[in-house]
C-alpha cells in the first residue's frame, strides 16, 4: 500500500519543493512566468510514475501557486479565466504525459517479459541439445514449467512402442498412466488444449482437481494447473515448453528406433555370417568327396567296372548329403527372413527351367503342361520359386507310378496366379494333408523332409498360400503367387 502511494507523496513533495524554489527566486528578482517550473515537475512525474501522481502533483502545484503567489496571497481564490486556464494546462499536461509514459512502460515491460521467456527457452533448448541424455533435458524442462505461476505439476511420459514410460516430473499412478495411454492412443487431449500458441484450460474440466493430459507425437504431457487461470504469458510459456518437450520426445524416439534397427541389422548380419560360414564348412568337405570320387570314375583311373559302380553309389550319397545341407540352409535362411529378389517372370519359363534342371532325374517321365501362353507374368523371386517347383515336381515324380503322368497347370485370377502340380500316385491320408508341410515330415525314406516345408515358406514369403488335396486322379499341390503389378511387355 505504501509503495503505491509513494509516487503521490513524491508528487506533492515535488510541488512543495518547486513552490519553495519559486518563492526563493521571486523574493530576490522580478521574473515573470515562474509558474512554468510546475510544468517541468508534472512532466517528470508523468514520465516516471504515470497519470495518477502527475495529476496529484499538478493539483497540488496549482493550489500552492494560487495560495502563495497569486494575489491576494494567502487565500485560495480563483479569479478570472487566466488562472483557470493555467490550472487546465497543468492538468492536461499531467494527463497526456502520464498516458504516454504509461503505455511506453507497459510495452517495455512486455518486451522484457518476452525476452525473459525467450532467454529461458533458449537456455533450455541449448541444454537439451547439449546433454546426450534426453531425459536430463526433459527434467530441466519439467522443473522450468513448475516454476510458472499456477502450474503445480508437469510430467512427461514417453510412449515407447505402445508402452507408457514416465521420464520426467515424477511418478504417475497406474490410473494416470492408463489415462495418458488412452489420451495418446486416441490423440485426444483431456482437460487442456493448445491453441494460438497458449495452453488453454477446458471448461468441462473439474478445476484443478485432476491432472490434464496433452498427447504429443511420441508421448504425453501430464499437468496440473491451479484453479483461477494463471497469467496469459505463463500459459504461452507453458505452450512453448510443451512444444519443446514434444520435439525432445520425438528425438528420443528416433534415437531408440535407430538403435533397435541397428540391433536387428546386427543380428541379421550375424545370422547371415553364421549361415554362410556353416555353408562353407559343410560344403567344402562334400565338394572334396565328390571331386575325388568322380575323378576315379574316369576310365584312365584304371578301376574295375564293379569298383566304378560302388564309387557312383558313393557319389550319389555325397550328392544327397549336399542336397540335405542345402535344404537345411535354405530353410534356416527362409526362417531368418530372406530378402526376395522379386521380378516379373513368365510362369511357363519358371516351370520350363525347373523341368530342364530335373531332366536327368525325371528320366523321361511324362509331364503334361496346362499353362496358357497369354498368362500374365508373376512377380516372384526366380530362384526361390524355382525351388518350390523342383520340390513339387520331384515329390510328384517320387509318388507317380511307373509310366504315370505328372500334370502342371496354372490360371490367373484377380491379381493372383493359381498353380498346381498333380500326379496319379496313391492318395495322401486325410489326416496327413496338413502335416505334409511340417519340417522333417516325409513319407519316403529318401527325402530330407524339408522340400515341402521350404516350398510352404517360399510361397508364404510371396504372400501366397499352398495346400495339398486328393483329387480323383491322385494328390495335387496347389499354390498361389502374385501377378506382376504392371504387365511389363514391351
Amino acid at each position: 500500500m505504501t509503495r503505491r502511494l509513494a509516487p503521490y507523496a513524491v508528487g506533492i513533495a515535488g510541488a512543495l519543493a518547486v513552490t519553495a524554489a519559486i518563492g526563493l527566486v521571486s523574493s530576490r528578482f522580478q521574473v515573470p512566468g515562474l509558474s512554468a517550473f510546475y510544468l517541468l515537475l508534472v512532466l517528470w512525474l508523468g514520465a516516471t510514475w504515470g497519470r495518477g501522481p502527475a495529476v496529484a502533483g499538478s493539483v497540488a502545484a496549482f493550489l500552492m501557486y494560487d495560495f502563495f503567489f497569486v494575489p491576494p496571497v494567502g487565500t485560495l481564490t480563483v479569479r478570472g479565466p487566466s488562472e483557470l486556464l493555467e490550472l487546465m494546462v497543468l492538468l492536461a499536461v499531467a494527463l497526456v504525459t502520464g498516458q504516454l509514459a504509461g503505455s511506453l512502460r507497459r510495452t517495455q515491460s512486455a518486451a522484457e517479459a518476452l525476452a525473459a521467456d525467450e532467454r529461458a527457452m533458449y537456455e533450455l533448448a541449448t541444454a537439451a541439445l547439449r546433454s546426450p541424455e534426453v531425459t536430463v533435458a526433459l527434467s530441466l524442462l519439467s522443473e522450468r514449467a513448475m516454476r510458472l505461476q499456477g502450474v503445480s505439476r508437469f510430467a512427461l511420459v514417453a510412449m515407447d512402442f505402445g508402452h507408457a514410460m514416465p521420464l520426467a516430473g515424477g511418478e504417475l499412478t497406474a490410473d494416470e498412466l492408463r489415462q495418458a495411454t488412452w489420451s495418446y492412443d486416441n490423440k485426444r487431449p483431456v482437460g487442456v488444449a493448445v491453441s494460438n500458441g497458449a495452453v488453454r484450460l477446458m471448461k468441462t474440466r473439474p478445476e484443478g482437481a485432476e491432472a490434464a493430459y496433452l498427447p504429443l507425437a511420441s508421448g504425453v504431457a501430464v499437468m496440473k494447473i491451479e484453479a483461477g487461470h494463471p497469467d496469459p504469458s505463463d500459459l504461452r510459456m507453458l505452450a512453448a515448453l510443451v512444444g519443446l518437450a514434444d520435439l525432445l520426445l520425438d528425438r528420443r524416439r528416433a534415437v531408440l528406433e535407430a538403435d533397435r534397427a541397428r540391433g536387428f541389422e546386427a543380428s541379421d548380419r550375424l545370422k547371415a555370417a553364421i549361415l554362410s560360414s556353416l555353408s562353407h564348412e559343410l560344403k567344402s568337405p562334400i565338394a572334396s568327396l565328390r571331386a575325388g570320387l568322380t575323378a576315379l570314375l574316369a576310365p584312365q583311373a584304371g578301376l574295375q567296372p564293379e569298383q566304378r559302380d560302388l564309387l557312383r553309389d558313393l557319389d550319389g550319397q555325397a550328392n544327397r548329403l549336399d542336397r540335405l545341407v542345402g535344404d537345411m540352409l535354405a530353410l534356416s535362411r527362409l526362417e531368418a527372413g530372406v530378402e526376395l529378389d522379386r521380378e516379373p517372370h513368365r510362369f511357363a519359363d519358371l516351370v520350363g527351367t525347373a523341368l530342364h534342371q530335373l531332366r536327368p532325374s525325371l528320366n523321361g517321365r511324362d509331364v503334361k503342361l496346362d499353362i496358357a501362353d497369354d498368362l500374365p507374368p508373376v512377380e516372384v523371386d526366380e530362384l526361390q520359386v524355382g525351388r518350390v517347383l523342383t520340390n513339387l515336381l520331384e515329390n510328384a515324380d517320387e509318388w507317380a507310378p511307373e509310366g504315370g503322368r505328372i500334370e502342371v497347370g496354372a490360371s490367373a485370377n484377380e491379381g493372383w496366379l493359381t498353380a498346381w502340380v498333380e500326379n496319379d500316385g496313391p492318395a495322401i491320408a486325410p489326416t496327413e494333408l496338413d502335416r505334409v508341410f511340417e519340417t522333417f515330415w516325409t513319407r519316403r525314406a529318401r527325402g530330407s523332409g524339408l522340400g515341402l516345408a521350404i516350398s510352404k515358406r517360399v510361397v508364404e514369403a510371396h504372400g501366397g498360400t499352398i495346400r495339398a488335396e486328393n483329387r480323383r486322379r491322385g494328390p495335387r499341390f496347389t499354390f498361389t503367387l502374385p501377378l506382376a503389378r504392371i504387365a511389363a511387355a514391351r
Binding site: 555353408s279 565328390r290 568322380t294 540352409l329 521380378e343 523341368l355 507374368p377
Partner: protein, 213 residues
C-alpha cells in the same frame, strides 16, 4: 580338393598346375600361359574378385570361377568381371571337364573367326543377318536378331541379363530384365524351342541365358 581335382583333370589328359593364392595365380598365369584357369572365389589372401580383375590383363586364358557360395549375385558379378563360366561346389569331374571343353572350343571358334555360327541345326549367318533352323528360314525382328547374335557369339557361355540389356538395347538402356525375358520367349517360339527341353537357349536361373554350344 586340390589334389582330387588335379588327379581328375589329369585322367582327362589335361596338364595341370595348382597354386594356393591369388597373387601366385596372377604370376603363374603370365609365366606359364595356360588355356583355362579355375579360380576359387574363396581364396586365401587376395580376394577372388580382385584376382579375377588382375588376371584379365595378364592372360587370354578362359577363366572358370569355382564357388561354394550359392548366391547368384556372385555368379553375375564374376561373369560381369570377365569370367567365362562358373561351377558351384560340389561338382562332379564330368561336369567340370564339360565346362572346360566348352571354354576351349569357344576359344577355337573365336580364333577361326567364321562368319556363320552353328549350334545343332541352328545356323546364324552373321554376314547376311539370316537365321535358319534345319534349313528353314526364321524371321526375327531386329531386337530378337541382336539378342540371338550376341548369345551365339558367346555360345556356351552364360550371358547375364545386364550384359544382354547393354549389348542389345544400348549402353544407356533402362534396365528391365523382363524385356530380355519377353524377347527370349519370342525367339524360342519362333525357333520352336521348348524351355523345358531347350535345344538352343538355356535359362540360367538368377543369371541370364546361355546358347547351347
Amino acid at each position: 580338393m586340390q589334389r582330387a581335382l588335379r588327379a581328375g583333370l589329369r585322367y582327362h589328359d589335361f596338364e595341370v598346375r595348382a597354386v594356393g593364392t591369388g597373387e601366385e595365380a596372377v604370376r603363374e598365369a603370365a609365366a606359364w600361359r595356360p588355356d583355362v584357369i579355375l579360380l576359387d572365389l574363396g581364396l586365401p589372401g587376395m580376394d577372388g574378385f580382385a584376382t579375377l580383375r588382375a588376371l584379365r590383363p595378364a592372360t587370354r586364358a578362359g577363366v572358370i570361377v569355382v564357388s561354394v557360395m550359392p548366391g547368384e549375385k556372385d555368379k553375375v558379378r564374376a561373369l560381369d568381371a570377365g569370367a567365362d563360366d562358373y561351377v558351384v561346389k560340389p561338382f562332379g569331374t564330368d561336369e567340370l571337364v564339360a565346362r572346360i571343353r566348352a571354354v576351349l572350343r569357344r576359344q577355337a571358334d573365336v580364333r577361326a573367326g567364321e562368319p556363320v555360327i552353328r549350334t545343332g541345326d541352328l545356323e546364324i549367318d552373321l554376314a547376311r543377318r539370316s537365321v535358319t533352323t534345319a534349313g528353314r528360314a526364321v524371321k526375327l525382328t531386329p531386337t530378337e536378331y541382336e539378342l540371338l547374335r550376341y548369345l551365339a557369339l558367346h555360345a556356351g557361355k552364360p550371358v547375364t541379363h545386364t550384359t544382354l540389356l547393354r549389348q542389345v538395347w544400348g549402353e544407356y538402356a533402362i534396365g528391365d530384365k523382363y524385356n530380355t525375358r519377353y524377347v527370349v520367349a519370342q525367339i524360342r517360339k519362333k525357333l520352336g524351342d521348348d524351355p523345358a527341353n531347350p535345344r538352343y537357349i538355356v535359362n540360367e536361373p538368377g543369371v541370364g541365358y546361355r546358347l547351347q554350344a
